[in-house]
Point group: C2
Chain length 194, copies 2
């Protein structure tokens, strides 16, 4: 998606260790007009797919998923990163290793909000090694729901999460795929799409 | 706001310990059409206020703030609950005691996204003792920004967070204010507003 690539070039900051900071518009400060354009694009890409629910994970997926859900007219469920006393005990759960925070955490979704009747679009801000997305997919499978596909804002194409998902036959629509980044020059190369 | 009160009566669940579970539409599964109506109502209530930014806190405030920001045409910044290696060191921070999770956590906002030029609307899902909102207000003051007001989905009127804020001259617009709840009968009494 040209608009997102241009925005990453303009406002993204490449840091050592293959870190791309997009917190001025994507995952700390959020540009809601941009999120609307992303929603429009995913709607175009997943046109014709029957989707009943969008699933994301706290925290940075929530804003994107909430705005984009308007184009699908479905509820959003966000997976929670730790047990809250305000959630019933009856949950699907999985463990996810976080690259960003360098720790393992439990992720839960209430059984009430995902079931065999659902056809789910997974939305998240980043895809790198795929740990978070694989955790969400495992929850969808536990629920007996069907996975319609995965919508990602920024995929790190030089890590293998996206390749593994596509090799497993899962439809992944990443709006920008980073082929390489250079922290010394700030140069970013995107993968050509369609 | 009648629509939200009706939804709470229909789908909210009153639990022992003054807990109202609204996770079927507000803070786990999210009804985005409802969030749009909430945004429309806050826009009406804060009409004429110059607002440059919406500030919320992860995780359950983010979806509401992101959808509602569309009515104000401003970016959303969400305060983060723990230091991430992807955030620069240059942050405003405060400590917040969580009623729900019964622990204290650090909350941060990058200095880049809040400053003296900002007039801020704070949005969150719940207001009880006011700890989270007071933490966000302390960050706004540290930034030298101006607080335009606070928009809350559900205020627990029997706890004193809302009263303290209003006594301090802060404009708080809660779309539903709980006067009392009875876990044995499920009865909910709302405060009359305008």
């Amino acid at each position: 998606m040209r608009l997102l690539e241009e925005r990453i070039r303009k406002d993204g900051v490449v840091k050592e260790g293959n870190v791309l900071k997009v917190d001025s518009f994507l995952n700390h400060q959020m540009d809601i007009a941009l999120f609307n354009e992303m929603g429009r694009e995913w709607k175009r890409l997943f046109e014709g797919e029957r989707i009943t629910k969008i699933l994301t994970i706290e925290a940075s997926g929530i804003g994107i998923a909430a705005v984009c859900a308007q184009y699908f007219d479905v509820p959003v469920v966000f997976a929670k990163k730790s047990q809250s006393i305000n959630l019933d005990g009856s949950v699907y759960s999985t463990r996810i290793q976080s690259f960003t925070h360098q720790r393992v955490y439990d992720v839960i979704v209430s059984r009430k909000y995902l079931g065999p009747e659902d056809r789910v679009l997974v939305i998240d801000d980043f895809l790198a090694n795929g740990n978070a997305i694989n955790g969400l997919i495992s929850i969808i499978r536990d629920a007996g729901a069907e996975l319609a596909g995965v919508g990602i804002a920024v995929e790190k194409g030089f890590q293998d999460g996206g390749k593994q998902l596509r090799d497993a036959g899962i439809r992944v629509e990443s709006l920008a795929i980073l082929e390489s980044m250079d922290a010394s020059t700030g140069e970013i190369v995107f993968r050509e799409q369609e």
